[in-house]
Assembly symmetry: C2
Homo-oligomer: 649 residues x 2
Amino acid sequence: MRESRRRVAIEGVRPEIDAGEHPIKRTVGDRVTVEFDAFADGHDRVAAVLVHKHECDVAWSETRAEALGNDRWRASFAVDRLGTYHYTVAAWVDAYATWAAELQKRVEAGQDVALELDEGAILVGEAAKRAKAADAAALRSLGRRLRDGDAAAAAEATALMDRHAARRDPTRYARVLEVAVERERAAASAWYKVFPRSVFAGPTAAGEAGVRQGTLADVRERVLPHAAGLGFDVLYLLPIHPIGRTFRKGRDNALAAGPDDPGSPYAIGSEEGGHCAVAPALGTVDDVRALAAACRERGMDLALDIAFQCSPDHPWVREHPEWFRHRPDGTIRYAENPPKKYQDIYPLDMTGAAWRELWGALRDVFLFWAAQGVRAFRVDNPHTKPFGFWRWCLAEVKRVYPDAIFLAEAFTRPKVMARLAKAGFSQSYTYFTWRTEKWELERYLTELTATELAEFMRPNFWPNTPDILPFHLQEGGRPAFLSRATLASTLAASWGVYAPAFELLENAPLAPGREEYRSSEKYELRRWDLDDPKSIAPFLASLNRIRQVHPALRRDRPLTFHRVDNDQLIVYSKRRDGDTVLVVVSLDWRWPQSGWTDLDLAALGIEEGGRFTVRDELTGKTYPWSGGRNFVRLEPDLPAHIFAIEDQQ
Amino acid sequence: MRESRRRVAIEGVRPEIDAGEHPIKRTVGDRVTVEFDAFADGHDRVAAVLVHKHECDVAWSETRAEALGNDRWRASFAVDRLGTYHYTVAAWVDAYATWAAELQKRVEAGQDVALELDEGAILVGEAAKRAKAADAAALRSLGRRLRDGDAAAAAEATALMDRHAARRDPTRYARVLEVAVERERAAASAWYKVFPRSVFAGPTAAGEAGVRQGTLADVRERVLPHAAGLGFDVLYLLPIHPIGRTFRKGRDNALAAGPDDPGSPYAIGSEEGGHCAVAPALGTVDDVRALAAACRERGMDLALDIAFQCSPDHPWVREHPEWFRHRPDGTIRYAENPPKKYQDIYPLDMTGAAWRELWGALRDVFLFWAAQGVRAFRVDNPHTKPFGFWRWCLAEVKRVYPDAIFLAEAFTRPKVMARLAKAGFSQSYTYFTWRTEKWELERYLTELTATELAEFMRPNFWPNTPDILPFHLQEGGRPAFLSRATLASTLAASWGVYAPAFELLENAPLAPGREEYRSSEKYELRRWDLDDPKSIAPFLASLNRIRQVHPALRRDRPLTFHRVDNDQLIVYSKRRDGDTVLVVVSLDWRWPQSGWTDLDLAALGIEEGGRFTVRDELTGKTYPWSGGRNFVRLEPDLPAHIFAIEDQQ
């Protein structure tokens, strides 16, 4: 028999991902707000609580839920420690509240309530037995007053009864749900991505041929201060490991490398070592420790690029051939996307016979670098390894380093990207790089910020990457760079640029119709003049400064799009803790664009018809506005307003 | 360690109610269509199946799922037996399909595929070992051809490989879901509700005072043929049990009954018996058996009204005082909705100390009447008993009588109504009775037919009930009756009327501003002249005949609302198995209304701009229509069109 006399039904608990299979995500200091339906048969009053605890706690904490109407309830709790929190809800029929509410109606109708007061006295007396000391005495006294006919004692007893009355047959929700709590930077960050060998590559000593490769020491001394000066808080290096020789790719991805070509840093491993080694030309593991420490001193993170694949020269190929797939002729299977072949890369056989040993070795790569002080990892192509691997591996790393954060570089199908986020990645690459029209930006951002996705997938917006030079940057030039950087840094709480290519407006494609860089740093050294007067570094610095001043920009939601009568202008706002930012961006790289807004004033916290002042944080100019209809005009020179809202009257 | 090398993720299985806690509902002969996400890491091909079985089957059946794009899959199965079906889904990486797809790309690119063919031959050889007889031989032969360099054998082997290839590390969805399968009448029915004592109450024999009470024999001989003639398929009697004397209510709900007042049939139980007895004035249990059999002979159901509450004179009050709540003074608590008191009714204490015995006794009430041949039950106020009770009780009854159907009379909060449907009620009362405006009808029907609700809650629409004479019937008279009957019988697959009050246009309220009947049959005998020329019985008969001819009207969905440029007209259509019905109803009881439609032709199965003929099933008139824009006009005399769509050109 499945019968039970628990009378309260609990349904529709939100947030809840895949029936509790996956956690929601928060950062330290956030609140988790939980809503749910709880209702009983009949007309009795229901009481409901949210219960919650950190994974290390033994006891559950309890927060009384507030009734929202239509049998919906809400309660929230703060998460203030890294790790996993657990939460669920419970509800029961509140006999005392039911009695007290009915008593009041009877009293108001002038009925004789002597018998009712006796019933209440019994309830209060039972609670008195459960209470101790002062509470017990107070309840006994209230019980006596009820028995003596004092109906006013009923309301006075409410708080004590909430604490001490027995909960009869409470219903506890069927599942305990989880919150993965990470540090603040998991939610809000600005990434500065460089090829460490390349940024400050310089001329070699007099008399030698070629250019001198940049080193980790160069990065520490020159790139880090530069990135910090621009307000970025994650310095992210492409892979730093020894690079294979076999089938090494040449400039512009040529099949054969010249003798001086440095090779793609994604062809990982040589006789000099694999995923736990540093290419000698860049430096040593000690240099990584020093760089990580230097980042930490500035309040920044050093992020390494973890790409789980091997060049044919990787030590694992010799030491662990069982970690790779073999063909009938005994050779190791190289990477392919038929008919394309990537003979310089051996994928790992993630589900082969030796999978457990391999998974352990991969986890140990993260643990090794974490031990050197690295706490941020950008993971290359995670969608080509099993979801179950990531779920296990990231949990293993976080068990030792709960402050580790992981960015998933997966440009793949939407459900696969979402699943990686569920598996534990702190942040995710997105389709932003290719979303350029107003309607598609609005639709995509609505999906990211106003659906269940927002509970577990944190977007990181990139206007460019070493692999992607989108057509609009090729064609739009400087205005496009400014517009896209503004969108990336204000639509998403995390953003990044492949720099210095971005700040120096590099936009020559490999060939017409291709979205890849010509003379890509993936295959050759490039020297960048960061002092070039055309640099948009000051603009990027402004964006990051504005993000630092405005907490609203350091969360993805709530995000509101506002109407404007021009499809070349996009208008949106964010609010958080009383901070409101309204952004207007032009999507036209050639011509000035203007329009009349139709602002959703409620989303801005402004009363209908109210007057207020907007101050453009990019220029410092202020504009007196009134109501929802206001005129905006943007030129390609500075195709954005980032308005702080001030002086509401 | 939670790691696993299962590579496929399965998510978003629909339908699934509350993570599988509650079943979806279907009727015998329906199909269950299941959609879900299934995807793996990387680029390998995935195969997916729906598995399903009846609760009495041992083995699972398997249906291959079809890929819909965006990692979504669909499959369906038929349910052809009463009871519970189970279903879930499974998916795995299809090594052979992956290999074959890549082979084709290599062949098309003109690559040397000798090694690939060897790999394929190994896969085929492994499958040959798992196959038997002819399949094994065929696979061995295909393997030889591959080894001999015949790439064409790859595609030829697909079907055999689907059958015999090993499924590596398949993922089975975490939950097994349920389908409650009932008989067709659970989904589609037309209820004719009467007070058996009243319909053919007649003058007493000469010389006696008062009127003679109708009997179950009268119902069998006169009401049943009448209801059958109108096309109703459920004859539903208000409670037939002995009625208590203590605090009996008089005419028009007067607090004191006169000596001849028959009392409310909901004050159940007297010294003559309780829930398993028949009021002697109506007849005997044998009469119920005879009436149930007579209904069955006509292909109809007899439905009894089960109201779990007792008059103070009910035998249970004496025999099982522990089934009621007692007050501190030892009296039994009567029903109250403070400050209102219902002293003629004792509610049962559904969660008191003796709850298990009480629940058993209540279940036995259903079993008793089912044993007499009754298979349909209208349950009064189920929302005042615990959901867990219904879930248990209805399952217990269906275990013995899987053809039993239950209608929940719960006019209460929306989530409570939905929960009762989840607990096992076949059909549900709704808010239709009070939804009169076009926008609110459209919104409510969209909620009922196009959300998850449609998977488990089957609405039964009532234009009136003995307790509810809505204002629009009071004010609108005959046109309102016709309009509301048309809406009820064509919007919902199940409908009913409190008859003959409805067919005779009874609409005098208890008092102005009250939605109750004056001289309600609940408290007095009424004699109805079913031959009254003002009767709208012929119209009700037409509605039921049209429902019988059109299968589209015997399901709630798919339902499509069409635009029309007049808010006093509502236009909607239903389609099923090639049958299409388009309904136009006027919501104005006073004036003619006309308008131009803007039909959603795709929902009608008509090509853009197509010509077609609509035939009004109410009048037989036909109209040649073309495209989506057509003129309609309705008069209060006949405020509805029910169009069959014919002769599409």
